[in-house]
Structure formats: C-alpha cells, structure tokens
C-alpha cells in the first residue's frame, strides 16, 4: 500500500515550529499585557516610574541615608538641616523597651522563657508532622497560661478561701462527669445524687459567701470564711463519694478518677508557692510582650466563647438564645474604645471602696468579651452554611446534641469559616494597640512614648519608630494569614468550587 501513497504526503511528523515572534516570549507578553495600545503604554510608563520612584525613596530612607549607630539625637541630625534617612539608632537604643516595656532588666529572662515556651509549643501544635499533639495542646492551653502568669508576675498569689473552693468545685464537677459517663453507673444512684447535691450546695454556699460576712480563720496559710470552708468541705465530700462509686464499679481507671483532684491541687500550689521570683507589677509590663499578652489571651478566650455563643444563638431554648443575642449584639454594637474606657473609668466607680481591679486585667476582660461577640457571628456563619441534611443525618443516627455538634457540625462549620476566624484574629491583634489610650504601653505605645525622649527628638524619629512598629505588626499578621491559607489547603477535602 505504501507505494500508492502520494508523494506529497509526509511520512513522518514535522518538527514543531516556534510560535511567531510576536506571540511568544517575554517581549510578546510585555507587549500584550503592558504596551498593547498607546493608552496602555502611557499608563505602564507612568506607573512604572512611580513604582521605581517610590521604591527608590523608601530604599534610600531605610538604608542608604539611614543612621544605624549612635548614642543620641546628634547622630541622626543632618549637617545644615533637612530630612535625613531613618534613625535606626533610636530603635536600637529603645529595642529593650519596645520588646519588654519597663520590665526590670534583671528579670527579663522570665519574659524570654515565656517567649521561648510559646514558640516551641505553638510550633509543635501548628506543624502537622510533629507528634504528641494531644500532650502539646494540653501543655499550651492549660499549663502554659499558668506558667506564664507565675513567671511574668512572680507568683505567690494570695488566694482567698473562696477561690480555692471554686477550683475544687471545678475539680468535683470534672470527677462527677467522669464517673457519670461510665456506662453502668447512672447519675440517679444514691451516692451520685448525694454527691451532686453536695456540689450544688457548695456552689450555693459560695454565692452566699459573696454577700454575707462570716468569721474567717486561717488553715495552712489560706484564709477561709466559715461559709467558704463549708463549701470546700462539701466539695471534697462530693469528690470522695464519686470516686468511691467510680472505684467500686471497677470500670474506671485510677488516672481519670484522681486527675481532677491532682490538677486542682497542683494549680493551687503553682499559684501560691514561693518560687523565689521577684514580684513584677503589671504596670511595668509593656512593649511587644504586652501586645502578645493582650492579643493571645483575647484569641484564646474568644474562640471557645465565640463557639458557645454561636451555638447558643441558634439554640431552641428561648432563654439561652435571648441571652446570647443580647450579649452578642451589645458587645458588637459598642466600639472597643468605649469598652476599654468603661472598663478603666466606670468599673472602679461601681466597686466597693478599696477593691481595685488590676487595670491590665480589666483591659483583658474587655478585649476578650468584645472579640467573643465577633467570633460568635463568624462561627454562626459557618453553622448556617452546613446543609440541613447533616443535622438530620446526625439526628437519625441518634446522636445526642453535644455528640452531633462535636462530631458532625463543628468540624465542618469551623473549616468553612477559617478565613473569617483568622480575619478576626488579625483584626484583634491590631486592635490591641487601642490599649494605649487607657495608659497601657503596648508595642505601639512604647514606640510613641519613645518619641518624647528629648535625647531622641529628630525630624525622622517618629517615621522610623512607626515604620518599625508597622513592620513588627505586619510580620505577625502576615504569618497568621499564611498559616491560615496552609490550613485551608490541608483541610480542603473536596468542597472546592
């Protein structure tokens, strides 16, 4: 057959020719995208020149004309006047304050330790390949805050009897629920009912103790009032009874029975023990350290509270829903500045004479409540995006409300709203700079305070300081943003549209 083939039919594939010069290569791309028409060409040239001009100016400000070393303002002044470059010597001289505020130099290792622990634990939790996620999470969310509190303040808190009783009430609740969740033990058993009533009685006694003064006495260095002492004893009784039931059933491990009690005791020990650390009052805290304290405690508090509020707002129980709606709408409706002002100026007026809340604590609570309201609405968006079939499917499997929420709804809902959550975190991180107006010196605040040092007043000091602060904020926020994108991709299990 081959010889019949026409001579003009090629027997082999011809090599591919390169695309026409006008259609390929960098020049063609440029021409097509940037210089297609005269208007495009002019726009390109104008924008290009502007970009080059801006970058050049920025570069000469932060690098070429910048002053990197010097002892005071003289170093950053230009001979004969005029604007010089950035005065990095100012940042260098004040760097300690920008990071630690006025935290005493001799004690700064404590802050460094906290920074290091935070970095290690967060890295361990955030990097998927690192093992022991569970222990890591417990360390980060339960142990780390206590360690931080003790390290930064110096510990040795004077816990009143009420506070101790409260800790043990929580421990008792944990033990009770642990025993209650054992399959063959019902909460309606006599011992369990007595334990529950003891616990409720203890809570009632503590509430009464707030308003009623009873004689106080000291036990092991803690001052108990009569009522808080009774509450404490009742709590111990509840724990004892439920442990007895738990062990009696033979269904529980020693670990789960004893853990709450041990944790409560350890917590109280950590808070009250003397670790030979000098007391550093919070008004000495400042700089990046304070920014991180405010931002991270806000972030850590807002997510769980936000989830609870969002669930509450969608609850079928009218009272719960109403309370959650009022809470969310109130905190979302007032500006953060107002919240901070209220916390700083109005709160002390309502307090009885002599009671003085720490001003940092007031700000922390304000920020946390404010952020929770925002977070609640973000999470609610996720909850509402879950198809009804998921809820109905979970109900059909006879899952309880909490099982359904924990296993089916929240994992999907939270995944959807990761961008919104991180958006709120980033906003919160930057909003922390508002604490400056109530007299706390966060990163931006210490930088601004540095401007008032007569030894460093130059025409370029403010620009340099603000540029530095902006860069630090950007690093943190950009880091959060990139990590959120990474998590989104990792959790992207086929819903990409």
């Amino acid at each position: 057959m081959q010889e019949h083939a026409n001579a003009y039919v090629s027997t082999k594939e011809l090599p591919q020719l390169p695309a026409p010069r006008n259609d390929a290569g960098p020049i063609a791309v440029l021409r097509k995208n940037l210089f297609a028409t005269p208007v495009d060409t002019i726009l390109t040239l104008v924008c290009g020149l502007f970009i080059v001009w801006a970058i050049w100016n920025l570069f000469s400000f932060v690098w070429l004309d910048a002053v990197f070393e010097g002892a005071d303002r003289e170093a950053c002044l230009v001979e004969g006047g005029g604007h010089g470059g950035a005065c990095w010597a100012f940042v260098e001289a004040k760097l300690g304050q920008f990071v630690y505020g006025t935290y005493p130099s001799a004690e700064r290792w404590r802050v460094d330790t906290v920074f290091l622990l935070l970095a290690l634990l967060t890295a361990g939790l955030l990097i998927p390949n690192v093992p022991y996620k569970r222990i890591n999470a417990i360390l980060l969310f339960a142990v780390f805050p206590v360690v931080t509190l003790v390290l930064l303040t110096g510990g040795e808190f004077e816990l009143a009897g009420g506070a101790i009783a409260l800790v043990f009430v929580l421990a008792a609740a944990a033990t009770l629920s642990a025993v209650g969740s054992v399959p063959r033990i019902s909460l309606s058993r006599l011992e369990m009912r007595i334990a529950t009533w003891l616990l409720l009685g203890a809570i009632a006694l503590m509430l009464i103790a707030i308003v009623l003064d009873t004689p106080t006495f000291e036990i092991l260095g803690f001052s108990f009032s009569l009522l808080t002492m009774l509450a404490f004893v009742a709590t111990l009784g509840a724990i004892g009874l439920s442990m007895m039931v738990g062990f009696g059933s033979g269904q529980t491990t020693i670990k789960s029975m004893v853990a709450p009690l041990v944790i409560a005791a350890l917590f109280i020990f950590a808070m009250t023990a003397d670790f030979d650390l000098r007391y550093v009052p919070t008004n000495l805290w400042g700089g990046l350290m304070l920014t991180l304290v405010v931002a991270l405690s806000g972030i850590a508090a807002s997510l769980p509270f936000g989830v609870l509020l969002a669930l509450g707002r969608r609850s079928h129980m009218p009272a719960v829903r109403l309370i959650c709606v009022i809470f969310i709408e109130f905190w979302r409706g007032v500006p953060l500045i107002t919240v901070l002002f209220m916390a700083t100026f109005m709160l002390p007026l309502f307090m009885p004479e002599g009671v003085n809340f720490n001003s940092l604590l007031r700000a922390l609570v304000g920020v946390a409540l404010f952020a929770s309201a925002y977070m609640a609405e973000v999470v609610r968006g996720g909850l509402q995006a879950i198809p009804k079939g998921q809820y109905e499917g979970a109900d059909a499997m006879a899952l309880s409300y909490w099982q359904k929420t924990r296993l089916i709804i929240l994992p999907q809902a939270l995944k959807i709203v990761i961008p919104g959550i991180v958006n709120t975190f980033i906003g919160l991180f930057k909003d922390t700079s508002l604490v400056y107006i109530i007299g706390l010196a966060d990163l931006l605040g210490t930088v601004k305070r540095g401007f008032a040092d007569p030894n460093w007043i130059t025409p370029t000091t403010p620009a340099t300081g603000l540029l530095f602060a902006a860069f630090v904020y950007w690093c943190f926020c950009f880091g959060m943003s990139r990590y959120s994108i990474f998590v989104e991709r990792r959790l992207d299990t086929g819903h990409k549209r």
């Binding site: 505020g101 107006i437 007299g439 540095g450 007569p454 007043i457």
Partner: protein
C-alpha cells in the same frame, strides 16, 4: 476668614466637666485623709505623669522615667519615704488624669496640669504650687521676617484641634483686631509636620511644647519662638482635696526646692551647708529646729530631698534648661530675685 467653632468646644468642655464632676461626686467626696500614712505603709508613692512630654515626663534608653514632673514625684517620695526610687509611675492621658486621682489610683498628679479655678474648686483638686509657668506662644520661620506676634496679621496658623490653645488663638487675634487663617489638625505631631512642610506660617502651642516641636523641624535653626505669651498656663502638681496634711507635704516640698535654690543649697553642697551660719539655711535643712514634725516628716527631710534631686534650678536645668536639647530659658520660671515668678514661702 474661618473662625474656630466655639460651640463644639463648649460642648466638649462641658462634657469633660460633667464627667469630672460625676466622678468627683461618685468618689464619695474623695475625702480620704491619711494619704501620707497610706504611702508610708505601702512603701511607694503612686505618681501620675504624662505618657510622654519631652522634658517633663519621658523614659530614657534604660526605661527610667525622667523629666521635671518626674523629679517632683521623686522629691515628694524622698520627703515621705527617704528614697527617690520609691515611686510607681502611672502614665496618664489627659482624660485619664482626674478620674485616676479621684479613684485613688494615684497619690499625686504631676502631669503638666494647668491650675484653673474650675479644677481647683468643682473637680475637687488641690494644687500644691506652680512648678512651671507655661503659656501659649508662637513659632515662625526666620525668613518670614517677623519679630513680634503683633505682626502676624493675615498669617496662616497651624493649631491642634479641641484644645484651649485654639480658643486662646481666636481670642488673641480678635482682641488685637488681626486676621488669620487657622489650619486645625488633630494631633500635635501632625501639626508639627504640617508647619514643617510649609502649610502654614505660624505654629502655636504652649511655649514648652514649642521648644520640643522645634527639635522635630528639619532645620531647627530656621525657626524662632516669638516673645509674646498669650495665655496663662501655670502647671503644677495636684492632690485630692480634703487631705490637708498631704497637700502641705507636696506644697512645702516645692517651696523647699525653691528656697534651696535661693539660698544656694544644691545637690553637691547640701552636706556642707548643714554647717552654714545662715539661719535660713539651718532652718531649711533642719539643723536647729524640726519643721518636718508637723508634716509627719523627718527633721532633715528637705536636706534629703535636695541631695536626692537637687534644688529647683538644678531640676530645671537638668531636664529642660539651655544645656538640654530643649534649650528652654528660665524666663518666668526664674526666682523672684532674678525677676521671675518662682517664690518660695519662708521656712520659719
């Protein structure tokens, strides 16, 4: 010509006063006597200072507070506790300062606060003296060729909004029948940069602030501060009303600093001066008689104060005087013997 909106400012002023009054009323008349006892018991003085005003309160590279107001805190701490370091500084914003004093969060307010009738009476403050006589002034560029504020007719003036500065400016130009164009800007640093970039001919704020503003100019030598002072801004330390002993301690610490300068007692020679024959010096340093006792202070309290922080002249020169970057002349703050207004009441 645009006149600043007076009504807005009256409203702001009214609101501020109302807040202050309600605070004063709610603080159960604030009559907490025994501040001195509380301070001694606590072992440290809680002092409210500016969050940052060059020369008056700022933090140096080591994070230590320094400035004229800061030295007053240290002086009072030395008088009561014998230790200039026994001070807990509370940096306060302008709106925070009065509530902080009323809420008993601080013992002494040394935050460049102007002594006015309203504050002394209605707000329940007690001013202990004037540690700096300030007043609103003008700064102009040299090439404007102006030597007096009276030549400023038709000028464009940069001024911070919402302050008494803005009202004083309007009053001054109206009283002297001159025209001006105000450029009203929210924050002082923005006012400075607007003036530096040439948006206006004149910059106005308190004279002490002008000295700091001048340092921010790209060429400080090209700017002159005009001699006219158009308002009275006597700045002084304040305490809560109703604790006379505490007010007396602060007041007499101030007078001791002034008397020390007048008598030539300074940080360096205070020990020698104890052997002086001059009865005024001997009384001041507690050599013959115990003037500290009625105040609940040790006999040599004034000597301790002077050896800790120096006399008024030393404090002034160290923080804002001609050898500091701020280069402020003594002017009205010179002693009365040098033609100034600072006059220490006699110790006897």
């Amino acid at each position: 010509m645009k006149k600043p909106n007076r009504e807005t400012h009256m409203t702001i002023k009214f609101l501020t006063a109302a807040l202050g009054l309600s605070v004063a009323a709610l603080a159960t008349a604030g009559a907490q006597a025994q501040t001195a006892g509380t301070v001694k018991e606590r072992g440290s003085l809680r002092c409210g200072v500016n969050t940052g005003l060059p020369g008056f309160a700022s933090q140096n590279d080591q994070g230590e507070w320094q400035g004229l107001d800061v030295d007053y805190c240290r002086a009072v701490a030395t008088a009561v506790l014998g230790d200039p370091q026994a001070v807990t500084f509370s940096p306060l914003s302008a709106v925070q300062r009065f509530p902080a004093l009323q809420n008993n969060e601080i013992d002494l307010l040394a935050r460049n606060t102007t002594w006015t009738m309203d504050r002394d009476t209605a707000l329940g403050l007690d001013f202990a003296g004037v540690n700096y006589y300030d007043g609103q002034g003008f700064m102009v560029k040299n090439d404007l060729g102006v030597n007096s504020a009276l030549e400023l007719s038709g000028a464009t003036v940069c001024v911070q909004s919402g302050t008494t500065t803005e009202l004083n400016l309007a009053d001054y130009f109206e009283a002297n029948d001159m025209d001006y164009n105000p450029v009203v800007i929210e924050s002082q640093s923005d006012v400075n940069s607007a003036y530096d970039s040439g948006r206006c001919d004149v910059l106005t704020t308190d004279a002490s602030g002008l000295a700091a503003s001048r340092l921010e100019m790209s060429n400080p030598d090209n700017h002159t501060i005009l001699p006219e002072i158009i308002s009275k801004e006597p700045l002084g330390p304040a305490v809560r009303q109703g604790d006379d002993q505490w007010a007396d301690i602060v007041r007499w610490t101030h007078y001791a600093l002034l008397n020390a300068e007048e008598l030539g007692v300074n940080q360096g020679n205070v020990e020698e001066m104890k052997n002086s024959d001059n009865p005024d010096i001997r009384r001041l340093l507690g050599q013959d008689s115990n003037f500290g006792e009625p105040l609940g202070l040790p006999q040599d309290w004034a000597a301790q104060v002077i050896s800790a922080v120096g006399n008024y002249g030393e404090i002034f020169e160290r923080n804002i005087g001609v050898n500091t970057p701020l280069k402020i002349q003594r002017g009205q703050n010179a002693l009365w013997t040098d033609g100034g207004l600072q006059y220490g009441m006699p110790v006897r």
